[in-house]
């Protein structure tokens, strides 16, 4: 496995605060100070306006010869709060861009051989338009995303997937899609370009993480409304405080009131909200999934039903030998030995599994001298070995029965039941013959992936229903479904069946996720709430889905659900934390604000903060610092562990709710102790 571009050579993800990203983010923090950028985030806009007001008050005091140090300190702290929020967003954007750019870098400066009227011309890759035909030969890079219209090639996709083994891409199959920046290793193909420069999935994804074109997702909008509402409520509470303190005979300082307002409104979540959304996309990208919208990632957390392909997701891709069933009169060891000999030189996974099974059962033999391996072909439908006058074959039962008859052997009546039994249990029967003597049957079965049963049980506890999709007959499907512990299965599944099943589940109010690659999967991918298309799949499938998996890994669906949930949990946790923080901030600022009017209120200073000035400054410093301190959490996301809704709520409430109440009391007190000597 070579290193994927988004992973550093050591296999580690780049650190959140790597110098290059940070310097980009710092630049972005200042660039985002424009009112237009700030107005996108109502909570931070209030801080922004507050900063302008305190700046004005500072200057006014300076001009009229009144003390201005405190006003200046608050102004700077508020500015810092805004900058920290900008920095969080900038950092998330920088990370996303860096990841996407490294994926894209591979295709830059690629020359393309464009076919025009049967003639080739060489143009820069960036000049290609959708619909152009380009020729790519062994050793060349594919210049743009597209679909093979002619030929077959092995392609090295390690630049985008990190997987070094080449993959086969062929025109007219479900594996006709190719990605710009990947390299053709053999043969020659003609590719129809499907996306022009700057329009590929990757380009779209880069745009999604960039501030300007980033659309807020539905849940982000709802949460923004909640936060704006809270901001309005606290604005009201603080604005009315001024007349209240006028009544009390000691008008509050406007600067302190602004400081109080900024502390009360949910700046922590308000400042980190854009970063959390972008980070969700980043995490998808880290998992080598390109989401076409932020909404797609968010919806993944809500999925109720997972349609999973049997092969590759639930079972190991290839069937493995699981049993030797000899015919009467044939010792088991003899069958095993013959099967072993026929498979020693067999490079297929099935062949290797037969060797492994035989050895596991204590049967072993060296490769005979002069052995000649006979490869499996579509015509012969069998493989085997010839040596020293012996001829062993293994293959499909009907073919081998015919072979036995050709060789003049007897076909015992017991063979048919043996073959049927294996088929009924969901396996593939391989009949073995030595010269003209039929020996028995080797059962090849689907092997359910280790640990998958536990994984499905986990999903069930989270409330997710799993449905296995397979082309197998219902009997076989049921046997595997039972073994894997899925909640349901769809046997002999046609694309129409998949579509119908998705619709049926959606009628019941459920959200469905599926993965697919073929053109005939496209309607189902489009219908599913989360449609994850394999990058190896056809262009139609990739267009229909709302995410593309660069690794074409069938288990990726499970990962995507986790990313979606993590995104929502992070928002919820930081919202809870932000709101819970208000309790301590009140106890810091209210006594400071009112103690002139009513000295008795000093008893509310439960933290024993040094002075009204130090109390207000400490609260504002805490409020500002908590944003950068929580950036790692916002970008990495609150770790998502599969557990029931009730259990997760209890856990997160304890950490972020109770923690949100307690932490600021301690932190504000500490900050107060630190800054008191500075204030003199």
């Amino acid at each position: 496995m070579t290193s994927a571009p988004i992973r550093s050579p050591s296999g580690q993800k780049p650190g959140i605060f790597s110098p290059e990203l940070v310097s980009n983010a710092v630049r972005a923090s200042f660039a985002k100070l424009s009112p237009r950028a700030q107005a996108r985030n109502p909570v931070m806009f209030v801080v922004y306006v507050g900063t302008a007001l305190t700046l004005y008050l500072t200057v006014a005091n300076l001009a009229t010869g009144r003390p201005w140090g405190y006003e200046l300190a608050i102004t700077l702290l508020l500015l810092l709060t805004v900058l920290f929020a900008n920095f969080a967003e900038g950092l998330a954007e920088a990370r996303g861009k860096a990841q996407a750019a490294s994926l894209r870098s591979a295709r830059e400066d690629v020359r393309a051989r464009r076919l025009v009227g049967g003639l080739e011309e060489t143009v820069p890759g960036t000049a290609l338009m959708p619909g152009d035909l380009v020729v790519v030969e062994a050793g060349e890079f594919i210049p743009a995303d597209g679909e093979i219209v002619e030929g077959l090639a092995s392609v090295d996709e390690s630049a985008i997937t990190g997987e070094s083994a080449p993959v086969i891409r062929e025109a007219g199959t479900d594996h006709s899609g190719v990605t710009g920046g990947t390299k053709v290793l053999s043969d020659r193909i003609v590719v129809r370009v499907t996306s022009g420069a700057g329009e590929s999935f990757l380009d779209r994804m880069i745009a999604l993480v960039e501030g300007a074109s980033r659309q807020k997702t539905p849940n982000e909008i709802a949460l923004s409304i909640l936060l704006s509402g809270l901001t309005l409520i606290f604005l009201l509470a603080v604005v009315t405080l001024y007349p209240f303190t006028v009544y009390a005979g000691a008008p509050a300082s406007p600067v302190t009131l602004i400081a109080l307002l900024v502390c009360l409104i949910p700046t922590t979540i308000g400042g980190l909200l854009p970063a959390i959304g972008i980070a969700g996309m980043d995490r998808a990208l880290q998992a080598n999934v390109i989401a076409k919208s932020g909404k797609a990632v968010e919806v993944a957390g809500d999925v109720d039903v997972l349609l999973l392909d049997k092969t590759g997701t639930i079972t190991i891709g290839n069937r493995m030998a699981t049993a030797f069933s000899p015919l009467p009169g044939v010792p088991k060891a003899e069958l095993a030995r013959a099967a072993l000999l026929s498979s020693l030189a067999d490079p297929t996974p099935e062949g290797k599994s037969i060797v492994a099974l035989a050895r596991q059962q204590g049967v072993d033999a060296p490769e005979p001298a002069g052995a000649e391996f006979v490869e499996f072909t579509a015509q012969t439908r069998m493989s085997g070995v010839d040596f020293a006058g012996e001829s062993i074959r293994k293959g499909a039962s009907d073919r081998l029965i015919r072979l036995a008859e050709e060789r003049g052997g007897r076909v015992p009546p017991e063979l048919r039941p043996l073959v049927d039994e294996v088929a009924r249990a969901g396996g593939t029967p391989l009949v073995v013959i030595e010269n003209d003597r039929l020996l028995g049957v080797v059962a090849l079965s689907d092997i359910v992936k280790p640990g998958i049963r536990e994984r499905f049980a986990e999903l069930r506890r989270m409330g997710l229903k799993t449905v296995m999709i397979t082309g197998d007959n219902p009997l076989t499907a049921e046997a595997i479904a039972k073994e894997a512990g899925v909640d349901g299965f769809l046997a002999e599944a046609t694309p129409e069946d998949k579509l119908a099943m998705i619709r049926e589940e959606q009628q019941g109010g459920k959200l469905v996720a599926m993965m697919g690659d073929g053109t005939n999967d496209a309607p189902a991918l489009a219908q599913a709430d989360v449609g994850l298309a394999m990058n190896s799949g056809t262009q139609a499938a990739k267009e229909a889905g709302n995410m593309v998996d660069l690794d074409s890994d069938p288990t990726k669906l499970l990962e995507v659900v986790g990313i979606g949930k993590g995104l929502l949990i992070t928002r919820g946790a930081l919202t809870t934390f932000s709101i819970a923080n208000d309790v301590a901030k009140y106890f810091a600022i209210l006594p400071a604000l009112f103690v002139t009017a009513y000295p008795q209120l000093a008893v509310l200073n439960v933290m024993g903060l040094h002075s009204p000035t130090s109390a207000v400054l400490s609260a504002v410093i805490f409020n500002a610092l908590v944003i950068p301190l929580l950036i790692p959490l916002a970008l990495r996301g609150v770790p998502y562990r599969p557990m029931s809704g009730a259990a997760m709520l209890g856990r997160n409430l304890l950490v972020y709710g109770l923690g949100g109440i307690v932490v600021p009391f301690v932190a504000i007190k500490l900050i107060d102790l630190l800054i008191t000597p500075l204030l003199g």
Partner: protein, 566 residues
């Protein structure tokens, strides 16, 4: 002894939740109309079969209320020309009449007048007592529609406003009031149309004793969480509250319908646990507030202790702070009454809240600011659900799903409407208070300076906005400014919370139900009930904390330090 009283009364209250909740369920859910109901629909030209969506329901509710407002205003202004006016009282001034009508229309029952000196028997019955029925029925009808929307089994229809109001009056309020009135008359409450009695006192002076149809008003006053007294002294008046039994019945009837609605909801939803969780959340808040007010009142005033007054509780004396309290009821019954009347936002009083210790007065104010500790008939439930939805939204995210409430996704539009409802409350309370404390004319109405004076104004607008109606007293509220602004506060508090929440129910009703799975956030658990209480205290109460600090908290701390303001 005090705790035993609390325990017995609250146990009786809880025991009534199930039967009354079932009764309300049958009223909300049953199909057939009774003969008198059919007659009413025919006479008034209503179509009882019409299914109303939230817009239609809300519109009918508002228009019918507006109609009542106009008629009642005319009746009060024409009082001098109308019958049953033995004391020959003249009409209320326009600003006072506006305030009075809005007050009773919105189930507030703020009284800027004193009944025996301002309203004829006719006005008491035709306007005050009638509105006590209609406003309670409107609140309960809104709750019925709201619940139907949340349960969401009838498509976009939330029911029929006319049917709901008629049934609630005919099947719930009238029979209950009639029964209770008989008990009250037996306990010595007047129920008469004869003129005021004249007595000769021991000193030989002549005293006019105000009478009237008191018992009939008292029953619906509490059942309907109205609170407006027949007399100025409200439930502290011996004719309104003659015995400890009537005091207990008053308390029980205030909580009867708001508490039972939680069970009704559980039945409509087909999930009784959900109803009990809401009931539990309300009860926990109630107990917390009751404990606070009782402890502070029983602790008394340290200034008096320093002067040598004995404030300990003994067999022969109540101890504590007895200023402004009825000796017949003592501190425990008074604390329970005050907690109940401001929890259920009734607004009747059997003591002077103005005379409480600072922190004693903190409790009634805070409960009204929350407005959902049982709350007024129907609206208390709706207000509690506001915070439930907020809790669902925040907590729902924390389980990694788009928040769902009762199987419906909570999205931007619902959040917007809930926030509007949540915002209306502080906007009115803090906004009007801020206005009043800087207007010199408004400040002239104050009897006390300093934090206590501030509390008096804050209390007035809180009471108005929460549609409670109790007064802190000490504030001369019958001025054009207060009549107008408190009237506005009452309207904001009533309709700007009720209508957005009705819209939320309507929107949720139209949504597709998401099947419950183990990954769903369960809202019928103790944990979630606790979370809702947490959200209520953080979002609901923190908004008002600065104002409360400058009012009752500062007041109390000054008292502890022995500060006496001149």
């Amino acid at each position: 002894m005090a705790w035993l009283q609390f325990l017995v009364l609250l146990a009786v209250m809880a025991a009534l939740v199930v039967p009354v909740g079932n009764w309300l369920y049958s009223v909300f859910a049953s199909e057939p109309h009774t003969a008198p109901e059919r007659l009413t629909y025919r006479l008034l030209g209503m179509n009882p079969q019409e299914g109303m969506d939230w817009k239609r329901y809300g519109l009918v509710l508002v228009v019918s209320n507006l109609f009542l407002l106009l008629v009642a205003y005319l009746l009060l202004r024409l009082q001098g020309l109308l019958p049953w006016n033995p004391a020959g009282l003249s009409a209320q001034a326009p600003d006072l009449a506006w305030n009075t009508v809005v007050s009773f229309l919105t189930n507030t029952n703020w009284q800027a007048y004193s009944g025996e000196q301002s309203l004829s028997y006719f006005s008491q019955m035709a306007v005050i007592t009638t509105f006590m029925f209609t406003s309670a029925a409107t609140g309960l009808a809104a709750a019925a529609a709201f619940m139907r929307g949340l349960v969401g089994r009838s498509g976009t229809s939330l029911g029929n406003f006319w049917v709901d109001v008629t049934r609630i009056i005919y099947r719930v309020l009238l029979p209950l009031s009639f029964l209770l009135a008989l008990v009250f008359v037996w306990q010595g409450m007047p129920q008469t149309l004869s003129p005021y009695a004249t007595a000769t006192t021991l000193e030989g002076a002549t005293q006019r004793i105000a009478l009237g149809p008191v018992a009939s008003l008292e029953t619906i006053k509490h059942l309907g969480t109205n609170g407006g007294g027949f007399f100025s002294m409200n439930a502290a008046h011996p004719f309104e509250n003659p015995t400890p039994l009537t005091n207990a019945l008053h308390i029980l009837s205030m909580l009867l319908l708001p508490a039972a609605l939680t069970y009704t909801f559980g039945r409509l939803l087909g999930n009784l646990k959900q109803g009990w969780v809401i009931f539990g959340g309300m009860l926990v808040l109630f107990l917390g507030f009751l404990t606070t007010v009782y402890s502070f009142e029983q602790a008394g005033n340290p200034i008096l202790s320093r002067l040598g007054a004995d404030q300990t509780i003994t067999a022969t004396q109540a101890g504590g702070n007895m200023e402004g309290k009825e000796v017949r009821f003592g501190i425990a019954q008074t604390a329970l009454f005050a907690t109940t009347t401001t929890a259920a936002t009734t607004g009747s009083v059997d003591s002077m809240h103005d005379s409480y210790t600072g922190m004693g007065g903190f409790v009634p104010m805070t409960q009204m600011m929350l407005n959902n500790v049982f709350g007024g008939d129907g609206v208390g439930f709706i207000n509690f659900v506001q915070y439930l939805v907020l809790g669902v939204f925040i907590a729902g995210l924390m389980v990694g799903r788009t928040p769902e409430f009762l199987g419906k996704k909570v999205e931007a539009r619902e959040v917007k409407l809930v926030m509007l409802a949540v915002l209306a409350h502080p906007l009115s309370i803090l906004g009007f208070t801020a206005l009043a404390v800087v207007l010199p004319d408004a400040l002239k109405s104050l009897n006390n300076p300093g934090p206590h004076g501030f509390s008096e104004i804050l209390y007035a607008y809180t009471s108005g906005t929460a549609n409670n109606g109790s007064a802190f007293a000490g504030l001369g509220a019958n001025t054009p400014f207060y009549n107008l602004t408190i009237g506005l506060a009452m309207l904001v508090g009533r309709y700007l919370t009720l209508l957005p929440m009705l819209a939320v129910a309507g929107l949720l009703a139209a949504k597709r139900r998401v099947p419950v799975s183990s990954g769903t956030l369960p809202t019928d658990t103790v944990l979630f009930g606790g979370l809702t209480v947490f959200v209520i205290l953080i979002v609901g109460a923190l908004t008002f904390l600065p104002a409360l600090t400058l009012g009752p908290v500062a007041d109390h701390l000054q008292m502890l330090k022995g500060v006496v303001l001149q």
